[in-house]
Amino acid sequence: MTDAAAELRGISKRFDAVVANDGVDLVLRRGTIHAVMGENGAGKSTLMSILFGLLRPDSGQILVGGVERHFRGPLDAIAAGLGMVHQHFRLFDSMTVAENVVYGAEPRRRGRLDRTAAAERVRELSDRYGLDTDPDSVVGTLSAGARQRVEILKALHRDAEILILDEPTAVLTPVEVDSLFAVLRRAADEGATVVLVTHKIHEVLAISDEVTVLRDARVTGRFRTAEATGSALVQSMTGREVTEVANAGTGEPGDEALQVTGLTVVDRGVHRVRDVSFTVRRGEIVGVAGVSGNGQREVVAAILGTGSAESGEIRLLGRDVASLDVRRRRAIGLAVVPEDRRGEGMAVTMTTAENLALGHHRTAPIGASRGWRRGWLSLRAQRDMARRLIADYDVRTSGERQPVGALSGGNAQKVVIARELSHRAPVLIAEQPTQGVDIGAIESIHQRLLDYRRDGGAVLLVSHEIAELQALADRVLVMFAGRIVAEYSRADATTARIGAAMAGTGESSRSEGGAS
């Protein structure tokens, strides 16, 4: 193949006992968008890290532009024309877009950063690729989608001809995904080559030209997207069919388990949440839709107790929690799957067992050691619980003693889900519960949330995925600019309505009851 921008041949990589890549071949044709799919732990991120010089393969060749390369680190890869957009962004929040973009490769005048040239460069790149980014805005004030565009600009500024994106859409809303794809298509048309890791079939079908599927460290399928079907991809990824589950809407909700009334959150003079009221009853899943940064995080933090509220009342199982700390609120019956998995949901350096134990460590272990006394850890119970949850949730790990940071992204997410769901708390808040997990795991997590509802749990489901909300929620609230601007019952929650309300252009409708 003469038009290969880059090629991986027979790449193998193992981490101690775990084989992450086993003789993987990947050809990236110039000017195309190449999707890489596969179950959690299949080895996608490892392969991308190898291509970008972050990891070195145990064996195999990397060819860029037909020449074999031995990258000693990402700087070598960048010099060879590769660029990677990292999922957790590596940007300086207090600096402007332009400063971030040129950082490390600054245009200089008389030895100093030439700000005008930097801004000019950003403007030029933005125009060329349709990135719609203001060079002078401060990165800390930008939404996730906009920050990602800054990452892309950084790569383009360094003349990247091959762009690697590992699960770029996991944190984006549908509108942001669309604009990202427009940018990628434009880049490919300009001759760039894009490699994209994603778990979402519809995205793959919508954007890619070719697909490579990995399973258990090997390539199990190569497709031209034009000839591929969703079910063929799923079959190739999982070796089975995946059936989507949905809320049948059966059963009547019970008592009010979570009541939020007039919640207002002010952060450094800015109103993040304004007068938000809603309730979640037992046996009910209430969805919250919205572009990230419209107050959802702050609402969750106020309920959990990690954030403060300016005014308003929060009741858990009827109890006003204003004066209670996080531990007491959790003791009353609250569990939370946080959006920020690495920052808030786990301690990457601690073992899987320890990560699963937090929150359980002060309660008597289930059916375990007679000798247990309050305040002591039961390491045996900790281990047994970890093994049980790892099996139940199909976490791919080399054992409960493996540090969570060494798990693949989707498997780390399963650990967080397993820990929080196993509290069996009456009230569960799940923020982006399926971020980063593969299709099979999405359905199994959805099924668990439905089981939670069936068993009388009150679930607040915060999600960017309209389809997820439609599948699971009994009611959908839409947040925009810190307010709940719309509420739809299951039947009324159409994609068009939710989408319009998320953009702040839907007519304000809060017809259903349930609030205040």
Binding site: S45, S49, D58, H70, A80, A347, E354, H361, L377, L407
Partner: protein, 362 residues
């Protein structure tokens, strides 16, 4: 696009060895051991630059510290280093730096002196140790609410409060508590029954040392087997994760700082209750146990089982340094220098870790 020169030769020779090396280089023990090795090498270079023989100097250190006659003394220095390492390690476990060891140490010495002097009798020793622990714990604990309520980082408040305590104790020793008629700034000698019980006929190592060893054991058990120890480690690994999981971080910091203060205070008590049985201005601080303990804790990464090991290193340096000065003519300040190098290397590691490009989100 600037092309990097592609390197030829698919698998260069020695690649396997290099891979093994890289694997080994990732072991968590590498940096601490490397820090020590580097410190020793730098020390050797300095000694050599001064025209002296590094081998002679280092063997003087080892001999001075480990010859049978000095073991008793080395052992006691090791105990004090361990104690002060504990004062640093407990907060370090939750990611906080206690730089107030000096203040906590002298307050412990003060409390022990006052109580032992005022209440002679069979209970004098335990009460003195208890008083030292309580006063120093209270002083250490002050930093926790300052951090929780007023957002003054513990590293700052301990650093700033410590000299105040040192100055106050110094004042008390010079004036109100000074031994009448003595030209030296020191308190009166403690009565017989207010002296730390000895072990056999050892002159430096006494029961106080056993108390310090017991404290190390308690720290190990708490750290690995209790809910509080687990929370300490969780907060140290990721503070937000801890808070989200229901750890009351402020209360934990209060406990950790109080425990750290108590450890330092007990070291102070053991020192004044040992020969020469009095509180002498500056005598608690001049051996530099606080700094050595801090370095030992840092080198051990706060891990309870490693602290006794790393403390050996600093105790040997401390005791052997004096011997080296005598026999090899190398100033003992070299041991301070080596401690400093160890800390700098460890600090560099933190900086490098923060700047290194790790894995992207997978």
């Amino acid at each position: 696009m600037t092309a990097a020169t592609p390197t030829e030769a698919p698998e260069p020779r020695g690649a396997a060895a290099r891979r093994l090396f890289r694997l080994a280089a990732r072991h968590p023990g590498v940096v601490p051991v490397g820090a020590v090795v580097l410190a020793v090498l730098i020390g050797a270079a300095i000694i050599a630059a001064a025209g002296l023989d590094p081998i002679t100097a280092y063997s003087a250190v080892l001999q001075g510290a480990l010859e049978p006659d000095s073991l008793d003394y080395t052992f006691s220095v090791w105990g004090f280093t361990c104690g002060m390492a504990l004062a640093a390690a407990i907060p370090l476990r939750m990611g906080e730096f206690n730089l107030g060891g000096n203040g906590q140490l002298v307050l412990g010495g003060l409390a022990a002196t006052v109580v032992a002097g005022a209440l002679p009798g069979p209970l004098a020793v335990p009460l003195a140790v208890l008083a030292a622990a309580v006063l120093a714990a209270a002083f250490g604990a002050v930093s926790a609410p300052l951090a929780t309520r007023f957002k003054i980082p513990i590293i700052i408040s301990t650093l700033l409060l410590s000299p105040i305590a040192v100055a106050v104790v110094s004042f008390l020793v010079r004036f109100p508590l000074a031994e009448a008629g003595s030209g030296v700034a020191q308190t009166a000698r403690l009565p017989e029954d207010a002296r730390m019980w000895s072990i056999g006929d050892l002159s430096y190592s006494n029961v106080g040392l056993l108390i310090l060893v017991a404290m190390m054991a308690v720290f190990w058990i708490v750290d690995s087997r209790t809910a509080v120890g687990f929370e300490l480690r969780v907060v140290g690994a990721n503070r937000r994760f801890g808070a989200y999981g229901g750890v009351v971080v402020g209360r934990l910091a209060l406990g950790a700082m109080a425990a750290a203060g108590a450890a330092a205070g007990i070291v102070g008590a053991v020192i004044v209750l040992s020969s020469p049985y009095r509180l002498i201005d500056g005598a608690l601080l001049s051996p530099g146990y606080t700094f050595a303990g801090f370095a030992a804790a840092l080198l051990a990464g706060g891990r309870p089982l490693l602290i006794p090991v790393t403390s050996v290193l600093f105790a040997v340096l401390q005791v052997g340094g004096a011997a080296m000065e005598r026999t090899a003519d190398v100033p003992r300040q070299l041991s301070d220098l080596l401690q400093g190098v160890v800390i700098i290397v460890l600090a560099l590691r933190t900086v490098l870790d923060a700047g290194r490009t790790g894995r992207s989100e997978h």
